[in-house]
């Protein structure tokens, strides 16, 4: 296997690995708050669930970039393209940028989501506002996703 392909695979692995970790941390944090609220007010499950699901997107974005890298490199079909080493480094760069932005955004969005869930527990009518505040953190995951895609189209 070419060095370039190996670097690209590492890029894909970092994209999904770090983003997945971010979402997992975030979901667990939000989930902890959910269980607390639901044990007191089970009727709020719908609203709380939507808030808890918010940090799930980072993992999906990471998955998306990983798949795009694998597709671009031909790893998904089993016939990797003959990549040059610099090309491989570029794919790795995509993975790193994607991974870090989504790791942090996922974990911190989970924190914010948790406190929005607690707020919803106190006053259910505030859930949409909590959602808006929580989604602000996702902006940086989206920007990470966007730049990753822009680099991918340029390689």
């Amino acid at each position: 296997m070419e060095m370039g392909v190996a670097l690209a695979a590492l890029g894909a692995a970092l994209a999904i690995g770090l983003s997945g970790a971010g979402s997992a941390i975030g979901l667990a944090m939000a989930g902890k708050a959910s269980t607390g609220v639901i044990s007191e007010k089970p009727e709020l499950f719908g609203k709380v669930f939507v808030l808890q699901a918010l940090p799930a997107t980072q993992g999906i974005y990471g998955f998306l970039i990983a798949i795009l890298i694998l597709l671009n490199v031909g790893l998904l079909g089993g016939n990797p393209l003959p990549l040059t080493e610099p090309q491989g480094w570029a794919y790795l760069a995509v993975g790193i940028g994607m991974g870090i932005s989504n790791l942090a955004s996922g974990a911190f969005q989970g924190m914010m989501s948790g406190s929005s869930i607690l707020m919803t527990g106190k006053d259910a009518s505030l859930s949409t506002r909590g959602m808006t505040m929580t989604v602000m953190i996702e902006t940086y995951a989206i920007l990470g996703l966007l730049v990753s895609i822009l680099i991918l189209t340029g390689i």
């Binding site: 918010l54 999906i60 974005y61 998306l64 959602m131 808006t132 996702e138």
Partner: protein
């Protein structure tokens, strides 16, 4: 649009109160001042609490629940409480009390059994032992490993005793005899014996346990019968639910606050100006004597009444969950709804998902008959699904499969976020700029209305010029749509310059000295950074469309890869991947489109002009918890 609301007092005859309240509740014309039915203490009434409890009990027993069961009643039914209606409720409560009684009894018997069991070996009843006045008997608990030691000791002392084993311990009942009590005490101390009380019982313990067990069996059977009875009452659930809502609405009418004089009652409240004549009609047909007194010189904040068409109406819930508009501003809903609709469509942009959402939301509304805000949300999804289908036509994608993959002969006219991310990104940003411009136009109108012309020029018109001229300038420079033209670029630069001039010279209009004036002028220019970040925020349109599209594509790809494997068995897994994958992707796309669509309105759009802080005009109406709809009779 925001309809003016009038503060009025209704003067009525006390004896006609009920008829008028009923009519008002049905017509939903009159908002009563300071009367908020949600969270009102009327829900704590004994009857309602009891009924709710019964509904909960019966719901738990309702195993063969029809998920599409809805309750529709007519106005006659809801206003009429029959006396036999709460019979069933009392019956359920009665059965429930009996059940609790039996449960209690069983619990007590079980408790007793557990105290008897260690002494089940005793061949004589505790009562008989205690009746013996000559000899006292004492009971001890001794660790199991000391069994031999204590048996020998008792044998040596020649004391009458009985012993049994239970749960890793020896239980001993021994006759106390004066002469050897010292020795016994020493022996007992040596084996760490712990004195215990014999539980009182007239029967021998083993017999008592038998009898108790029989009773428990009997009581359990009784409880089973009661459970059957409750199951038999499940069929009355719709009737009980209807009764609950009837009672709520009766209580609502009863709790309406009013002032009373000798001959009249006075209701304070609000009415929409355009419904004034209708209110008068309703009063005329239900009351012989009435008066509507306008209250003009009031300093209170009036409620905000919105009047919009069928399309805009459901979108009001999106604004309301941010903040209800105040009475002095422009209703943002008509314009916001269109933008929300467009953005929602772009973020899903798939014919397949759009159709699923359209059919799903229509079916849900028809079959489940939801009420209130949830219904409005579903209507938002219903309308927005059409936009998703339309943008799906633009991107040419059905469940993540491109049109040209299905029919290769189609011309390449589709713009998909996967193949042309840059085009879609630019389109997103341009739409974003136009979205912000609409917000600024609304802001300008508002400021002009308030007479703050300079402010409107500095804060709204300036940025409208910069954004619009900037768009044309960039389009001109890129010469994609038309060939680059020097005149156009100078004109647009001129407009941008004019905008900058407005900002620099007018931002500091309120300042007292030159220093503050200059500082504010350049502070205004610094606002460009926030406009830049606002614009970039619209890149999420591309990102979300792309993520939905690529994940759908990935699921199809995975399914396609696995289908030929394992001599055809792979097809089962492929179908599973397709179903699970698309359901997941659909749900996440829907959540993202809903949440991010809302965010773009709240932050980027409403941030520019919307003040909010009003409270909604909520006329006296029916409060429904279980009934899905009230039909005209």
């Amino acid at each position: 649009m925001i309809v003016p609301v009038k503060r009025i007092n209704l003067v009525l005859l006390p004896e006609e109160k009920n008829a008028v309240f009923l009519a008002l509740q049905k017509e939903e014309l009159f908002m009563i001042k300071g009367f908020n039915v949600e969270n009102h203490s009327l829900f704590n009434s004994d009857q309602l609490v009891k009924t709710k409890k019964v509904i909960k009990i019966l719901e738990a027993e309702n195993k063969k629940k029809n998920p599409f069961e809805t309750i529709s009643v007519d106005y006659q039914t809801i206003d009429n409480i029959q006396h036999n209606e709460f019979k069933v409720i009392d019956e359920v409560i009665d059965i429930e009390n009996k059940k609790a009684d039996f449960k209690d009894k069983i619990q007590r018997l079980n408790d007793q059994i557990s105290t008897f069991i260690p002494f089940a070996f005793l061949s004589i009843s505790q009562e008989k032992l205690s009746e013996n006045e000559l000899i006292t008997f004492k009971a001890y608990k001794i660790p199991l490993e000391k069994k031999e030691f204590i048996s020998n000791a008792l044998l040596n002392l020649g004391l009458e005793h009985e012993m049994g084993e239970f749960d890793k311990a020896i239980y001993l009942v021994v006759a106390m005899i004066e002469e050897v009590s010292q020795d016994l005490a020493i022996a007992l101390q040596a084996v760490d014996a712990e004195e215990v009380q014999l539980p009182s019982s007239a029967l021998k313990y083993s017999d008592a346990i038998e009898a108790h067990k029989k009773n428990i069996e009997k009581f359990t059977a009784e409880m089973g019968k009661l459970d059957e009875q409750i199951k038999g009452l499940v069929k009355d659930l719709p009737q009980i639910k209807t009764y609950y809502d009837k009672e709520v609405n009766r209580l609502v009418r009863e709790h309406v606050p009013f002032k009373q004089s000798n001959h009249f009652i006075v209701l304070e409240g609000y009415v929409r100006e355009d419904q004034m004549s209708k209110l008068e009609q309703v009063l005329a047909s239900h009351a012989t004597t009435y008066e509507i007194e306008p209250v003009n010189d009031t300093k209170e904040t009036l409620p905000t009444a919105l009047k919009n068409n069928k399309f805009v109406k459901p979108f009001e819930t999106i604004t309301d969950s941010f903040s209800v508009p105040n009475t002095k501003e422009i209703d943002p809903n008509p314009i916001m709804s269109v933008w929300y609709w467009i953005f929602f469509g772009i973020m899903i942009a798939d014919i397949g998902y759009g159709l699923v959402l359209l059919v799903g939301s229509i079916l849900f509304i028809k079959l489940k008959k939801p009420r209130g805000n949830f219904k409005k949300l579903l209507q938002v999804f219903m309308y927005s699904s059409i936009s998703a289908i339309l943008f799906g036509l633009v991107t040419g994608s059905v469940f993540g499969i491109g049109f040209r993959e299905i029919i290769p002969s189609l011309p390449d006219i589709f713009i998909s976020p996967q193949d042309d991310p840059l085009t879609v990104l630019i389109a997103s940003l341009v739409l974003g700029a136009l979205h912000i411009v609409t917000a600024l136009v609304l802001k300008a109108i508002l400021m002009f209305k308030e007479g703050d012309v300079l402010g409107a020029l500095a804060e709204a018109v300036s940025w409208i010029l910069i954004l619009l001229a900037g768009l044309v300038f960039v389009a001109d420079m890129s010469s994609i749509i038309w060939p680059s033209n020097v005149i156009i670029s100078y004109i647009t630069l001129g407009f941008i310059g004019l905008g900058v001039v407005f900002i620099v010279f007018l931002s500091g209009r309120g300042s007292k000295n030159a220093f503050g004036w200059i500082l504010k002028g350049f502070g205004g220019i610094y606002g460009a950074t926030s406009y830049l970040s606002d614009l970039l925020s619209y890149s999420r349109l591309l990102a979300l469309a792309l993520s939905g599209g690529v994940i759908a594509f990935t699921m199809n790809l995975l399914a396609g890869m696995i289908a030929p494997a394992l001599y055809g068995v792979g097809i089962i897994f492929a179908i599973l991947i397709i179903i699970v994958g698309h359901v997941f992707n659909f749900a996440m796309s829907l959540l993202s489109a809903y949440v991010h669509g809302g965010r773009l309105q709240y932050l980027e759009f409403y941030g520019k002009f919307f003040q909010g802080g009003g409270y909604a005009f909520k006329p006296l109406g029916y409060h429904l918890d279980y009934i899905n709809e009230i039909k005209e009779n």
